[in-house]
Symmetry: C2
Subunit: 478 residues, 2 copies
Amino acid sequence: MSKGKKFVEKVTAMEDDFGQWYTDVVKQADLVDYGSVRGTMIIKPYGFALWENIRDELDRQIKETGHSNVSFPLLIPESLLQKEKDHVEGFSPEVAWVTHAGDEKLAEPLVIRPTSEVLFCEYYSNNIHSYRDLPMLYNQWANVVRWEKTTRPFLRSSEFQWQEGHTAHATYEEAAEETEKMLNMYADVCENYLAMPVLKGKKTDKEKFAGAEYTLSIESLMHDGRALQAGTSHHFGTGFAEVFDIRYLDENGDQQLVHQTSWGITTRLIGALIMVHGDNSGLVIPPRIAPTQAMIIPIAQHKEGVLDKAYDLRDQLKDIVRVDIDGSDNMPGWKFNESEMKGYPVRIEIGPKDIEKEQVVLVRRDTGEKEFVPLSELEARLPVLLEEIQQNLFDQAVTHREENTNSVTTLDEFKQTLDEKLGFIKAMWCGDEACEDEIREVTGATSRCIPFEQEQIAETCVCCGKEAKEMVYWGRAY
Amino acid sequence: MSKGKKFVEKVTAMEDDFGQWYTDVVKQADLVDYGSVRGTMIIKPYGFALWENIRDELDRQIKETGHSNVSFPLLIPESLLQKEKDHVEGFSPEVAWVTHAGDEKLAEPLVIRPTSEVLFCEYYSNNIHSYRDLPMLYNQWANVVRWEKTTRPFLRSSEFQWQEGHTAHATYEEAAEETEKMLNMYADVCENYLAMPVLKGKKTDKEKFAGAEYTLSIESLMHDGRALQAGTSHHFGTGFAEVFDIRYLDENGDQQLVHQTSWGITTRLIGALIMVHGDNSGLVIPPRIAPTQAMIIPIAQHKEGVLDKAYDLRDQLKDIVRVDIDGSDNMPGWKFNESEMKGYPVRIEIGPKDIEKEQVVLVRRDTGEKEFVPLSELEARLPVLLEEIQQNLFDQAVTHREENTNSVTTLDEFKQTLDEKLGFIKAMWCGDEACEDEIREVTGATSRCIPFEQEQIAETCVCCGKEAKEMVYWGRAY
């Protein structure tokens, strides 16, 4: 229930300045506040409730597939981080260093985890002995610190919340299966809960995780046509196992290296959610993850019986949907604006006339459509309406992505298409990193992924004209 | 399901060396492993599942009483920490300092939060304007770092997981009510879920939280007679509000300072749980928070039909209790030991004879008692048995505390009693810190709390002989 605020400020129109629109929405919808340390954020109750809903669904699926939650330390000794060459090169420019504790200088500096591969590897090295210990399927929900130069709430922050899975397997194939399984789980949560369609594919070597054999990712298109990497899943092969000496005795009594994976999603998903579904009135939250699915707003609440009836309605509905009521003394118009800003999927209006007619008015956040529903039918109608909204949000996002995905065959066409309107570009690639670099330089786009679903757009690489290996999605990205 | 380990090592007997017994149990019951940074711990799947059960119940109660979860940053600028004098003096000897990020030295050093009062205060200062904004009831589940000299898993670690509530209220009385409400919530979780009786009371000024007006705590007695502080709830009055300028406009339009509280419990509760209920065979977990409430152990599982029947039993019971099955190829005796080490409340044995008689054998972890239960009655019997175990564990702990609590009236008697056998000491106190210091020096005991339930043991202070103000619980503590 909101109380006290006297007006809702308007947000900048997204057509005028998408970046400012985003910043306005995250602030005015009460999702975050800025922390006092550069690039950090305070996730406020509404923002955190969103995260809890995403987390709880994913956590359920992670456990259902046999993974166990654990808690590993925040701090990593310098010597441990430096064991794997690619990994330390990838992360050391952005780690925070702990050098002192109390009054004393530490004998060895520590880094705050930017990710926890090396900690899990050290543990696996000590705890995996036999094929009977495998697979080892661990996950943790944790905070990590990466000292980024430019930051934005949810999208890129110095500290963020995430989930990091770390697994060890007997064979390359089992690890490959796990890598894909977890990517599919992320895609499921994004598509079926966040109503956010994603492309599934493999990162190019240039864009893969520091230390991985390969990285899979899901990629999504934001409202402004920029791409966003929404989750990644890495296959490490035996790279880390060799460095950290993680071996097991197989059934024949021979020593073997384990094959590892790691995979993660972060609070960044909230940023994606905002930029996929939001509009100029504020957030639009998909019903399945909405902390409040329906907000009751009494009309003419000073009239006898209105407030009582509204509270009765809340009690009646509270086991059916996540419902709240705005019984504050703000004007209904203010409450409507606030309800839109927060992106509650449905607004339920009830006033003296409705009470007389034994009905309520349901207003959809996604389309603005109104419908009059008899009180006797409300309990049946509301869950159905929420599912309709969920589906519509997903369909809209798919349509938006389709309308903003273009196939190109030359670099000129590539650049011209993006300069006209941002979106995904589909283009063939020879597999050479030099072409990737040149494409970036010329068009500002990076390779997003080599999609599992391939198409043969042309015979030759969009950049060098040599024989093409595969079709790649490109885009300017967050 | 356990697999692979070939034998269960014996733990040191608690009568021989309680500290070693504790260390053996946390390791052998697979609760934790040591992190590579001194004093840090890796909470393994079984330990973390325990924490999740405690957390989920408390989180439910925290939300039910109108509090919202949030996420505040990990790092605190030095200047912010130093704003409140007592607070910084209390914590600065044990904070970890971040001085560099990437290659650069930071303009201002940062500390990793040892607790987050100053961050919440800064936020409240910016976000509380009117009486309509109050009360502000926030909570977060987070990790904190305190660089302790001597560490032990769960009991005192350099980093630990906890929950910290931070609230702001319009009046002193409302804040006092909140302080007590949250202490009662902790007591409820300890007594009704962890089956761990607690004393509720107020800390002396010497023992209160750095920056608090007063601190309430719950205190529990471990198996070895040492006391353990299991949770604290602090009333800050307007102390922080003055320093951080946290004011609101009251209904008359006058500026007022807010009154604040904070309260927390930590992974330490797992340590308490171990030391209250554990025995020389390992852990004993109270059913209400046990990740596995009943472990099915097939007997002669190589015989036809036994394993199938055992798995059927698991499927039949899994919606009634948290049940698992040990279908590994270890010997039943090994499985019994493992089941005892892990402290599963009930072991369900099923073998060929039981199948013939259409029964199972239930073995209680707390008493070792066996009972033969017809399969047709098992679904009804099991939940009742789990409640009996829950109650018995609580009753046993109450009895242990009563048998190890003594009233004394002189310092000699105080010392002699403790030297003979550790436990709680009840003694009168004049309220003077000098006496508190002398008692500690002579007896090794600190004041645990001034209990809400007072008794008049004597007229005079146990130390100085002057007029006594109140009865205090004392003890040697963890």
